[in-house]
Amino acid sequence: MFDDFRPRASWDNLRLRAKLMRKLREFFDSRDFLEVETPILSADTVVDRNLDPFWVAGDHCDGTRRWLQTSPEFAMKRLMADGAKAIYQVARAIRGGEFGALHNPEFTIVEWYRSGHGMNEGIGLLSKLTDVLLGCGTSVRLSYREAFDEHVGLDPHRAETQELVAVARASKIDVPASLNVTDRDGWLELLLVNLVEPYLGVECPTVLYGYPASQAALAQVNCGQCAVAERFELYIDGIELANGYHELLDPGELRRRNAENNAMRRADGKSSLPEDSRLLRAMESGLPDMTGVAMGFDRVAMLAAGATRVADIMAFPFDRA
């Protein structure tokens, strides 16, 4: 293909993208959020079973391995620990192996933190921003439990793993051969992808919240009758646009989750990631109570353009990068 130097997105889409970015900055600037920039190449990285960061070898002055950031989360929390009240960032995030209609290994992430916000206020601000960008109206909130009750017919927090397996098989979902019958989160995700997600955000944007504690990632777990993570995701037309946490503050708990994620990574045949980080020092010195949200900007622009692939809104997606 001798024409592969040209951009994939149309110029109309590139102009639309720029216009959305201006609106986004206006939204945060007018609410006294400070725009910040943090390293893309860092000594620290998020330790997640399902996120595969690239690392860079070579001569980095101090000789240590540097990680391309899968999100600016760690560095932004360090700024919050030092006293920031409200910050946002538009950054490139890079995640290995993620390439498809809704994924590009390198993508534009919008991430923000606001101290004093709990999950409720966090969801409110996210809904407002989404409406400003897409004119899609107010979001409805649906708990993870309600969503499973409605679309799967079971309680995701209490059902035995074997019930999840039985429902998946009865629903004629094609099950990956290597999905272990004890991998509870794997089965919940399979049910979510096949039976729940297609219905989320069809009429109006939907915020799914209250994830199983095992899928808390870096969210606080609220210990009520059964432990539920204060994590939320916004969906439009079955597409996930943003992920937010009422942030975990306890460094001991982060250490425990890092070790657990690394154990799962090793069981999955992946390499371990460094468990120590400057974020732990920031948490030890004290993080404010806060909510943080990350939004996939390319997907938002894709929906605004009425496109179905993120590549349609990128000048040079991965296969032309």
Binding site: E98, G100, D174
Partner: protein
């Protein structure tokens, strides 16, 4: 046998599943929130032409299928065996009547077909989109009737029966679309 892992899955890949060769006709990368990556694939069975939906989890892998397409000339039929020859290297291949299926209707000596080999063995043969065959027998046509909507059954030189406009005559050559199995036109010798 070499294998290919999910991260290299893509449309157009030829893989083996339970001993059969498949063509990956679709591969959708799906990743829920912070969850595990799934690859939702559609695969066409290259022998039976059926479509299979399969979901793979990252870290899984499939075996490559050694599949190649060659041009093969039809030589002759011996009972239930159809014999073809690779035009490049004169290698001969035999297919059973079951493998040849309906294609026999269009096969006369010298017809060059497209043949798919799996592990070096023929699995399917596809005739050219258009073939020209002689009418071996038919009832005489009504003189002057050029309407194409009045049809009759004719017997071709391959032994196949075909529905043709009533004006065609015994001994004439006709062009046939092998994809639809329909008469197209008469051909002057």
């Amino acid at each position: 046998m070499a294998s290919i892992s999910t991260s290299d899955f893509r449309k157009g890949l030829k893989v083996q599943i339970e001993g059969d060769p498949y063509l990956m006709i679709e591969c959708n990368f799906v990743k829920p929130g912070k969850g595990q990556a799934l690859y939702k694939c559609k695969l066409r069975n290259l022998v039976r032409n059926t479509v299979l939906d399969r979901t793979y989890k990252s870290g899984e892998s499939l075996e490559f299928a050694d599949v190649e397409e060659i041009d093969a000339q039809y030589l002759y039929r011996q009972g239930d065996i159809f014999v073809f020859m690779d035009n490049d290297n004169y290698e001969q291949y035999e297919l059973s009547a079951e493998q040849v299926d309906d294609v026999w209707k269009y096969l006369k000596e010298g017809t060059v077909c497209s043949m798919v080999l799996f592990d070096g063995n023929p699995i399917t043969v596809t005739p050219p989109n258009h073939v020209v065959l002689k009418i071996e027998y038919c009832e005489p046509g009504a003189k002057g009737n050029t309407a194409t909507n009045v049809t009759k059954s004719v017997k071709l030189e391959t032994g196949a029966e075909l529905s043709c406009p009533s004006f065609v005559e015994m001994g004439e050559l006709i062009r046939i679309d092998t994809r639809t199995g329909e008469y197209i036109e008469r051909v002057k010798e």
